[in-house]
C-alpha cells in the first residue's frame, strides 16, 4: 500500500495521517515483560558500544595476572598455590567493581532525557531499574567467564567441579544484583556520572581490600581481623571459596543470601522513592 520512498528527506503527509489513525492501545505489558524489554535495551547498548566491555575484559585479566605473579610467591609460597586461594576472591572483586557502572549509566541516562520518556509511560515503575540491572547481569556473567577461563588456563583447579563453579557464579550474580541497588540510589542522588563513580570507588576500595580476597585475615591485627570478619565481601568470598573447593556449608551461603536480602530491602525501596520523586 505504501510506495517505496525514493527520498527519505521529508515528512510524508499521507503516510503520516495513516500512521496517526492507529489509536489502538495494546494491553499494558506485565512487569516482567517491561523489565525484560528494558534489559534488552541494555544489551543493545553493549552491542552498539562494545568499548564499554573493556572493564569486563581487560580489568579481570590485569588483576588476576598482576596479583598472581607479583604477590603470589610472597604471599603463599608459590604462584600456583596462591591462584587456588586468590581466584574466587579476584572473581568477586572484578564483578563487584563492575556493579559501579550501574549507577554511572543510570545517572547518564537521566541527564539525557530518555528517562523522562520511560517515566511518562504507563509501565510498572521499577521496570526501568530492574531492566538495567538485568542487562548488567549479562556483563557480570561475561566478566565471570573471563576470570574463570583465565584461571583455568593459568592452572586453577576447582575441587567443587563444574557444578560448584556455576553455583558460585550464580551466588555472585545474586549478590551483585542486590549490591547494585546502592549504586542506583546514588545514581539518582548525585549530579554527574563521574561523581557517582568517585563515591562508589570510595566505598568499594576499602570494602574489597579490607576483606579476605587477597590474604588470610589471620595474619592481620585482631581489630582489623574483626572488621574484615564483619565485611559482607568477606562472607561472599568465603562462600565462593567453599563452593569452588567443594567444602561449602549452608551457613556460608545463608550469610550471603541474608546480606543480599537486606541490601534489597533497604536500597530498592529507597531507590524507588528517589526515582518517583526525581526532579
Amino acid at each position: 500500500m505504501i510506495p517505496p520512498t525514493t527520498s527519505a528527506r521529508s515528512v510524508r503527509d499521507d503516510a503520516l495521517h495513516a500512521a496517526l489513525s492507529d489509536r489502538v492501545r495494546p494491553p499494558r505489558p506485565s512487569a516482567l515483560s517491561a523489565s525484560l524489554t528494558l534489559g534488552w535495551r541494555a544489551l543493545l547498548k553493549i552491542k552498539h558500544v562494545p568499548e564499554q566491555l573493556f572493564d569486563v575484559t581487560a580489568f579481570p585479566i590485569m588483576f588476576t595476572l598482576m596479583f598472581t605473579y607479583l604477590f603470589g610467591g610472597a604471599l603463599a609460597g608459590s604462584t600456583g598455590e596462591y591462584l587456588q586461594f586468590l581466584l574466587p576472591g579476584i572473581l568477586v572483586q572484578t564483578v563487584v567493581f563492575i556493579t559501579i557502572y550501574t549507577g554511572f549509566t543510570l545517572n547518564g541516562d537521566i541527564s539525557k532525557g530518555v528517562f523522562d520518556r520511560f517515566r511518562s509511560l504507563p509501565i510498572w515503575r521499577p521496570a526501568v531499574l530492574v531492566g538495567a540491572l538485568l542487562g548488567d547481569a549479562a556483563r557480570y556473567t561475561m566478566a565471570s567467564t573471563m576470570v574463570i577461563v583465565l584461571g583455568l588456563v593459568l592452572g586453577f583447579r576447582p575441587a567443587g567441579g563444574v557444578g560448584g563453579v556455576l553455583l558460585s557464579v550464580a551466588l555472585l550474580l545474586v549478590f551483585s544484583f542486590s549490591l547494585s541497588w546502592i549504586w542506583t540510589a546514588l545514581g539518582l542522588i548525585l549530579r554527574t556520572p563521574n561523581s557517582v563513580m568517585g563515591v562508589s570507588m570510595m566505598v568499594l576500595f576499602p570494602l574489597t581490600f579490607a576483606s579476605n580476597i587477597f590474604v588470610d585475615p589471620e595474619t592481620m591485627p585482631s581489630w582489623l581481623e574483626a572488621i574484615v570478619g564483619a565485611n559482607p565481601i568477606t562472607h561472599l568470598v568465603t562462600a565462593l571459596r567453599g563452593l569452588m573447593s567443594g567444602t561449602v556449608t549452608p551457613g556460608q551461603i545463608g550469610w550471603v543470601l541474608l546480606i543480599s536480602g537486606a541490601l534489597i530491602a533497604v536500597f530498592a525501596p529507597l531507590t524507588m522513592y528517589l526515582y518517583r520523586n526525581k526532579k
Binding site: I2, T5, S7, A8, R9, S10, V11, R12, D13, A15, L16, H17, A18, A19, L20, S21, D22, R23, V24, R25, P26, P27, R28, P29, S33, A34, T37, L38, W40, R41, L44, K45, H48, V49, K112, G113, V114, D116, R117, F118, R119, S120, L121, P122, I123, A127, N277, K279
Partner: protein, 341 residues
C-alpha cells in the same frame, strides 16, 4: 481576525462544555527557594493546539513536567481528561505522550530499535512493534536511517524520531517541549507539519516555545508565561488586539529628515511617534488606516522622501514586550485577560 476558526473551541470550554483535555488550577512548583511555577491556571480544550509562550526559565518546562506526571505540584491541582495528575498518574500516562526538551531517545540505539523499544513497552507484540516502527519511520521520512544509530542523526531527524516515539500509540494529548529549538528552518517546517497533522487527527497538543512566530503559526490559543505566572491568555489575534490594533513603521531615505517627519506625522496621526535605534526609522501605534494614508500623503507633500513603510498588526514580539515590559505584571495580566475575553 486571526484565530476565528478556533473561536468556538476556545470560548465554549470555559463554562464546562464537556471534559477538558487539561484543567490546571493554581499549580505551584518550587526548586528550593526558587519558585519555578507560581500559580498557573490552564484550560485546554480537546483537539486544540495550545501554546505556552515565554522566555527561558519562565516555568514552561516545569509546568509541562507536572502535567505529564513527572513532577508533583507543591500546591494546586491539575486534571488531564478528568484524571488527577497526582492521584491517577497511571491513568494520565495512558492518555499522554511527552517529547522533552532534550531528545528523549536513546542515542546509542538505532532509530528502529528506539521505536520498537517504546512499542514493546506499550504492550505491542514483537511483530506488531516492528511493523509499527517501520510505519512511523516511513511516515516521518526516516526509513533510510532506520538502521543507523541516533547519535549520527541530524538535529531535525532526531527531533522527528523523538516525536515518532511519542506517537507509537497515538496519544490523546501530546506535550511538546520546545519542539523546534535549534532546528534549521526546513526541519522546523517539517515539525510544524507534524504538529498540524496531529491536531487534524484529533490529538490535543500542548507545546512550549520561545518563538513568537511559532506560537502565532501553530497555536489556537496561547498562554504567555513569565516568571512562573500566566500574564496573558487568548488566541493570537486576541493577544495582538489587546496591545493595540496596529502599527505603522516608516523608514526615511534621509535620516536628517526625521525631526520634520516626526512633526508632520504626530500632527496628522494625533499620536506620539516612537523613534527606533535606526536613525531613519519611526513608528506609531495607529488604529485608522485612512488616517495613515492621509499622514503619508502629507509627509511626501512636505518633501520628506520615504524609503518604505509597513502597516500591520503588532507582532507577538511587540505583544510580549508590552506585556512583560511593564513593572506591574499582575495588573497587566488581569486587564489583558479582561480585554481579550
Amino acid at each position: 481576525m486571526e484565530g476565528d476558526g478556533e473561536m468556538s473551541a476556545g470560548r465554549g470550554l470555559v463554562e464546562g462544555a464537556g471534559e477538558l483535555a487539561i484543567h490546571a488550577v493554581g499549580l505551584v512548583h518550587r526548586f528550593g527557594d526558587n519558585i519555578a511555577v507560581d500559580g498557573v491556571d490552564l484550560k485546554v480544550a480537546p483537539g486544540e493546539i495550545y501554546g505556552l509562550l515565554g522566555p527561558n526559565g519562565a516555568g514552561k518546562t516545569t509546568t509541562i513536567r507536572m502535567l505529564a506526571t513527572l513532577l508533583r505540584p507543591d500546591s494546586g491541582t491539575a486534571q488531564v481528561f478528568g484524571h488527577d495528575v497526582v492521584r491517577e498518574a497511571d491513568a494520565v500516562r495512558g492518555r499522554v505522550s511527552l517529547t522533552g526538551q532534550f531528545a528523549s531517545v536513546d542515542e546509542d540505539l538505532t532509530g528502529l530499535e528506539n521505536l520498537v523499544l517504546i512499542a514493546r513497552l506499550l504492550g505491542h507484540s514483537r511483530a506488531q512493534s516492528k511493523t509499527r516502527a517501520r510505519e512511523l519511520l516511513d511516515a516521518f521520512g526516516l526509513a533510510e536511517a532506520a538502521a543507523r544509530q541516533v547519535k549520527k542523526y541530524s538535529g531535525g531527524m532526531r527531533r522527528r524520531l523523538d516525536i515518532a516515539a511519542s506517537i507509537v500509540v497515538t496519544p490523546d494529548l501530546i506535550f511538546l517541549d520546545e519542539p523546534t529549538a535549534g532546528l534549521d528552518p526546513r526541519s522546523r517546517n517539517q515539525v510544524w507539519d507534524i504538529v498540524r497533522a496531529l491536531s487534524t487527527d484529533g490529538t490535543t497538543v500542548l507545546l512550549t516555545t520561545q518563538y513568537l512566530d511559532e506560537a502565532d503559526q501553530l497555536a489556537d490559543r496561547i498562554a504567555v508565561i513569565d516568571r512562573g505566572k500566566v500574564i496573558a491568555e487568548g488566541t493570537p489575534g486576541e493577544l495582538k488586539a489587546s496591545v493595540g490594533s496596529g502599527a505603522l513603521h516608516v523608514r526615511l531615505r534621509e535620516p536628517e529628515d526625521r525631526p520634520e517627519a516626526e512633526r508632520v506625522l504626530s500632527q496628522t496621526l494625533g499620536v506620539p511617534l516612537i523613534l527606533g535605534s535606526d536613525p531613519a526609522a519611526l513608528s506609531a501605534r495607529v488604529s485608522d488606516p485612512e488616517r495613515v494614508a492621509h499622514a503619508l500623503a502629507e509627509l511626501s507633500r512636505t518633501g520628506v522622501a520615504i524609503a518604505d513603510f509597513t502597516l500591520g498588526q503588532p507582532s507577538l514580539d511587540e505583544v510580549f514586550l508590552a506585556l512583560t515590559g511593564h513593572p506591574a505584571e499582575n495588573d497587566d495580566a488581569t486587564t489583558t485577560e479582561g480585554d481579550a475575553a
